[in-house]
Symmetry: C2
Subunit: 472 residues, 2 copies
């Protein structure tokens, strides 16, 4: 089982320190480079095994300024956030190293050990599978993850407890478990073996070996950070462009009818979102001038301004580029708004980034699954995601561009970028077709809305929200 | 008293909307420009006066994507954080507008109205003075602040309460106060008049006037954002460079003595920091190669890695430059680490930014007071700040630079920037002298440590920490 268990040869501590610092700086110097990486080190283990001491020793050997340490009390697994949400904002930028004492596995262990009824193995394993998938997504996006379990035999644990004074022992019991209870100890060991297959297991009997084995493992990993970006093997299967994108409907709505409907629907939508027990995410993608801003205005019309947030997504900044592309969305969702509206989204990865070449083929081709997992994690955890693609015909876009240029107070809405994007019209249609095909899921379906007629579009959008919230 | 009370002329709503959107985009387009600004709008007022409705109407008139709204439950004024700390991270970047329902004044009001004993007027006024000073600092750093009080007469308030159903009334009572109680109403009015002198007071009797007066006031302010960066009038009084900077001591310490002392002091320092009831901030400034990294290593030697964070401050990123220069430190202190160590600090404003011209004379000359206020706010609120200037002689620096270039595993520590900074040696001495003279306060004193001898320096640093924590 414990295939990573290794006997460790002690090396000269000064040399180890120099090698670690060099590796640290080498990593730091990848910043902004093509091979840029960061490293997350998850540490967990048996009480008193000494993970704190091992990290302390590591931080003495390295340059402590470039080894960040996070320690959170456990977050119990619960149904209103994905397991990675409490940690997402700390995912390090390129060149950085982060040690996480509190992490999703320790949360899972805590939860499994503390829930009144024991956690079902199937559920436990499902969580582990999700965690592995999340880590693989991190790795694919330049954040390497290594995991270390600090192990201690029952006998050694009891000996160490014997040596402590009563006050300290009580404190250790407060950490959540009675480490004098053999059944509990065995249970921890049994549970952690369900996920530690790909961990380094350190036997912490000997403190010097413990510290060196930990540091050497990190050194080894720093020196050989794997490159997960491989060649694309298969030819890309381009989806057929659906007719609703090629020739968006031009059905028109009468103004009086629109006004009456709008009045009714804005109220209904506001209430549906407000009283839905889930947090609501509404996202917009589509060609420029397709009417995203106008649609958003109508969605929020009957909401109190304190009930919602709008996120307008532009090109990422440098500090955002230094992290996985989903990071800037993870952190926005942490604001905990009841209703979040995104004017452009994470789909930029498979739209503009694909078309402009900011993401390599292997990166954007992998992104569909990553995005599906991201949305699945959210919808599994008390979010509902309503996704819109606003479809417009090329002629109608041109008409709107020209109108904007001619209207003084709309001139600011049109830029050279808009004309440039227009020149890639067919590429965007292709990219949108692929996106719709690959990310239209039962838990986060797409709504394609023709916006050639603004009135019809706005009404359709409001109706689609009601329908997805099952409030129609 | 209410000098801003105005009668408002109604204008055409569509024209008002266009003007607001244009002003909004004009602000947005200042991003990255010399005249860049952002705007914070604080709103408070009497229950049922309709501040929520007015902001809702405003958000309908403007482009809602570029008007952010924050609403927090009140933070009671308490002694473990400065009043601005809960809000600091939301201070908007250049080009952005933020409406704050929850804000430092509503917190102060809530606190004054809810504490078991009424808040002393002197204390209340002292808070208000601090808030005004903080806002002036924001304004000086390109964040304009406008404040609007939504007022309602006792009679109208009672009428509006009469019209509500019982369930809603209970909810309004839950908002904290019994608005049926005339004494409480009068008390709110009496208290808020202690701070609303420079607020716009809107009489919310008429809803249309209320919404227009609010929107027109914002429009007026957006159109005429004041420029607080004025000419420097007086000649700068350069401080004399103290001898300890010109000729740092070269006293040496014997290795055995050092080792014995170090062992004793690292333990003592760890315990002093751990058991101090305040949060501890330790900051380092000084010439390159003065030994900041080495000193930090010794300070944290006996700490658990989970007890402290180290912040290495490099050149600010674009998103940081878009905010007041203290913003990136405000946000770091929110991490709530018990012990925070800064390798370079906010003093960059009056050191590198002064010398390289990144801050204008009026900006860096104003920064001393701003920094003093910042540190005062922290030390008034359960922080202790231990500030070090590490002084080294020019010869010793050169020797260390050369040694670094010759030692393989230290070569990464030396860059061209280091040599360039060295060429500004005298400028840095002058800037340091001014800084020491103007920011050496009783609540956050400087410790100037000669680091020509590393052993002596490290021991002195540890002793200085003990002394300031009164643990020596």
């Amino acid at each position: 089982m414990q295939k990573n268990e290794s006997s460790c040869e002690l090396v000269d501590a000064d040399q180890l320190s120099v090698a670690l610092i060099e590796a640290q700086y080498a990593l730091k110097n990848t910043r902004g480079q093509k091979n840029a990486k960061s490293l997350v080190i998850l540490v967990s283990g048996i009480e008193l095994a000494g993970k704190g001491e091992a990290v302390k020793q590591l931080r003495e050997w390295v340059d402590p300024r470039y080894l960040r340490v996070k320690a959170d009390p456990p977050y119990m697994m619960q149904k209103d956030r994905a397991f990675w949400q409490p940690y997402a904002r700390y995912i390090p930028a390129e060149g950085q190293i982060l040690v996480m004492f509190g992490n999703w596995y320790s949360d899972l262990l805590s939860t499994a050990l503390h829930v009144s009824a024991p956690m079902d193995d199937t559920l436990f394993d499902a969580y582990v599978a999700q965690m592995n998938a999340f880590e693989q997504d991190l790795k694919n996006n330049h954040v390497d993850v290594i995991k270390v379990w600090f192990d201690l035999s029952w006998k050694s644990l009891q000996k160490r407890l014997d040596k402590m004074d009563a006050e300290d022992q009580r404190w250790h019991k407060l950490h959540g478990l009675d480490w004098r209870n053999k059944k509990q100890y065995d249970n921890v060991q049994k549970l952690r073996q369900r996920f530690t297959d790909d961990w380094l297991i350190i036997d912490c009997e000997d403190e010097e070996i413990r510290d060196q084995e930990f540091a050497q493992y990190i050194l080894k990993n720093l020196k050989h950070l794997p490159n997960y970006v491989t060649q694309v093997k298969e030819k890309w299967q381009q989806a057929e462009i659906p007719n609703e994108l090629l020739k968006p409907s031009t059905e028109e709505m009468d103004e009086d009818e629109y006004k009456a409907e709008l009045k009714k629907l804005t109220k209904k939508v506001a209430e549906a979102m407000r009283f839905d027990e889930r947090k609501v995410i509404i996202t917009f993608e589509g060609m420029d001038a397709a009417g995203k801003g106008g649609a958003i205005k109508r969605i929020v019309k009957k909401l109190d301004p304190r009930e919602y947030g709008i996120y307008t997504i532009a090109a990422p900044e440098k500090y955002e580029l230094a992290r996985p592309y989903l990071w800037r969305f993870w952190t926005k969702l942490l604001e905990d708004e009841k209703i979040s509206i995104f004017d452009r989204t994470w789909y930029g990865r498979v739209l503009v980034e694909r078309i402009e070449g900011f993401a390599s083929p292997v990166e954007w081709q992998r992104a569909y699954d990553e995005i599906n997992r991201f949305e699945k994690d959210l919808t599994d955890n008390q979010y509902v995601i309503v996704k819109f693609w606003l479809a417009i015909s090329k002629d109608e876009q041109e008409a709107r561009f020209k109108a904007r240029e001619e209207t003084p107070h709309k001139r600011f809405k049109i830029t050279e970028d808009d004309w440039r994007n227009r020149s890639h019209w067919d590429d965007y249609l292709k990219a949108a077709a692929d996106m719709l095909q690959r990310t239209h899921t039962f838990y986060a379906p797409w709504h394609v809305i023709s916006t050639n007629d603004k009135y019809t579009a706005r009404i359709e959008i409001l109706k689609a929200i009601l329908k997805q919230l099952k409030a129609d």
